[in-house]
């Protein structure tokens, strides 16, 4: 057999066998793996596309939800702002009312304190004035003052109805002279018979006569007391007319 022919036939058969074997053992499984791989890629691509579509849908839903929430939030915020504003106004009103009430209380307290201080001041001033008057009477002193005060008491006794004077109690700072005693008896009239004459300390000068109609105080202490009370009343009257708390209200 010719080597060339043998080689020719062998190579032809060899190649056919090789093609069959490669087709069976290489091309077919690789092609199958390739198609599986391609199918897998396509499936993954499809899944990815579905996931992407799902993600986009979720994104749209989220955007819509976010927009709704934002709108609700804005509405809630405005509502809360309005509520808070009303609450603030209410609190402010209540605070104003409370402040007004407190101011009124303070004003009253201030007025009360002012009145108390004014009364105290009036008392102090009247007391000082009465003491001054008392010291003035003490400096004047002497029988003339005693006589003048008794004369004044006698005039007041004469102005009273004679029947209603008794019982009479006469207190004097100094022992009465006969003239002074006679003047008093004369002024007392019938009530002089039951009159009780005493000498007491603390009157300074003059007399203090207790009658059925009332007390006639013509002593230095009585005048001083009278002057004190008159001053206090006058100062209160003047203070009330002047309305000294106007400045406090203005403040």
């Amino acid at each position: 057999m010719s080597p060339t022919l043998t080689t020719f036939l062998f190579e032809a058969v060899n190649f056919i066998v090789l093609t069959a074997v490669l087709g069976w053992l290489f091309f077919k499984p690789v092609r199958q793996a390739l198609s599986e791989r391609r199918a897998k890629f396509e499936a993954e691509t499809q899944q990815a596309a579905q996931k992407l579509a799902e993600a986009e849908r979720m994104q749209r839903d989220i955007d819509a939800t976010r927009a709704n929430l934002q709108a609700e939030l804005n509405e809630l915020r405005s509502r809360e702002l309005e509520s808070v504003r009303r609450q603030a106004e209410q609190i402010l009103t209540e605070a104003r009312i409370a402040a007004e009430r407190q101011r009124e209380i303070s004003r009253r307290q201030a007025a009360q304190m002012s009145e108390t201080q004014r009364d105290t001041l009036a008392e102090v001033a009247a007391t000082a004035a009465a003491e001054t008057v008392g010291r003035l009477f003490e400096q004047i002193g002497g029988p003339e003052l005693q006589s003048a005060l008794i004369e004044s008491a006698c005039q007041q006794l004469r102005s009273l109805p004679q029947r209603t004077i008794a019982p009479v109690k006469i207190e004097s700072a100094l022992p009465l002279s006969p003239e002074q005693l006679a003047a008093l008896n004369d002024a007392l009239g019938p009530a002089a018979s039951g009159a009780d004459f005493r000498t007491v300390d603390g009157l300074g000068a003059g007399v203090r006569i207790a009658t059925g109609q009332g007390l006639i105080d013509a002593s230095v202490s009585g005048l001083t007391q009278f002057a004190r009370q008159s001053l206090v009343q006058e100062m209160k009257r003047l203070a009330n007319n002047h309305n000294p708390l106007q400045s406090v209200n203005d403040a």
């Binding site: 060339t4 290489f26 793996a33």
Partner: protein
């Protein structure tokens, strides 16, 4: 170095059958190719992420796309044939670069056998695709008088396939052998690189032309 053009030494006989050096070389290349292909297929099936799997995918995908572009549709048998032709011829040509190895494609018997396989594949593919009459009638187009020219054309292109591959590989191997004999060991290295490139190019051309011939036979009925 022993240089030869047409002679193919007989290494031994199996009975009365002589076993030539080309047969041994092509057998070894075929076995290596099968082993490599099995390994690649194994990796591609079980470990698709391995880089050798990617090489296998690339080879198969490339020939599938090539055949699809030439024929116009996907044809796995043709792409398997084209891929096998390219891999076998390229492997033989690369093996020829090894010292002392005579490339199987440097034998006219081998290239003729491959060309004859292609020649026989053309009518088989044509008949399978278009039927007997559908394929045969294309020999009579556009005019029955041109039928002998069709036959001559098919024979001549088969001859051209065989001789082109044989001539290129044999001449390259011969040039390298001559340069080694005359100039020394490292001088023919550029020529060997060129020969390697030519070998791959010729394998590609052989596969392309085979695909074109078979594709033409498949689409003969559509003309």
């Amino acid at each position: 170095m022993h240089l030869r053009i047409f002679g193919d030494p007989v290494l031994f006989h199996i009975g009365t059958v002589p076993v030539t050096e080309t047969m041994v070389t092509s057998t070894v290349v075929t076995l290596l190719l099968i082993a490599t292909a099995v390994l690649l297929a194994y990796l591609a099936t079980l470990r698709p992420q391995h880089w050798l799997s990617l090489v296998a995918f690339m080879i198969v995908e490339s020939f599938d796309n090539l055949v699809t572009e030439i024929i116009g549709r996907r044809h796995t048998i043709v792409s398997t044939l084209a891929g096998s032709l390219f891999l076998f011829i390229a492997s033989c040509n690369i093996a020829g670069q090894l010292p002392g190895v005579h490339p199987a494609t440097g034998s006219l018997a081998t290239t003729s056998a491959l060309a004859v396989v292609v020649f026989l594949s053309v009518p088989i593919a044509g008949i399978r695709s278009n039927g007997v009459w559908g394929y045969i009638k294309h020999y009579f187009r556009p005019n029955p008088l041109l039928m002998p020219l069709h036959v001559i054309s098919e024979l001549s292109r088969t001859l051209a396939l065989a001789v082109r591959l044989f001539g290129n590989i044999m001449s390259g191997h011969l040039v390298v052998g001559l340069l080694v004999a005359l100039a020394g060991f490292l001088v023919p290295t550029p020529i060997m690189a060129l020969d390697l490139l030519i070998g791959l190019l010729q394998a590609y051309i052989f596969a392309i032309l085979s695909t074109v011939y078979i594709g033409a036979a498949i689409s003969a009925g559509e003309e």
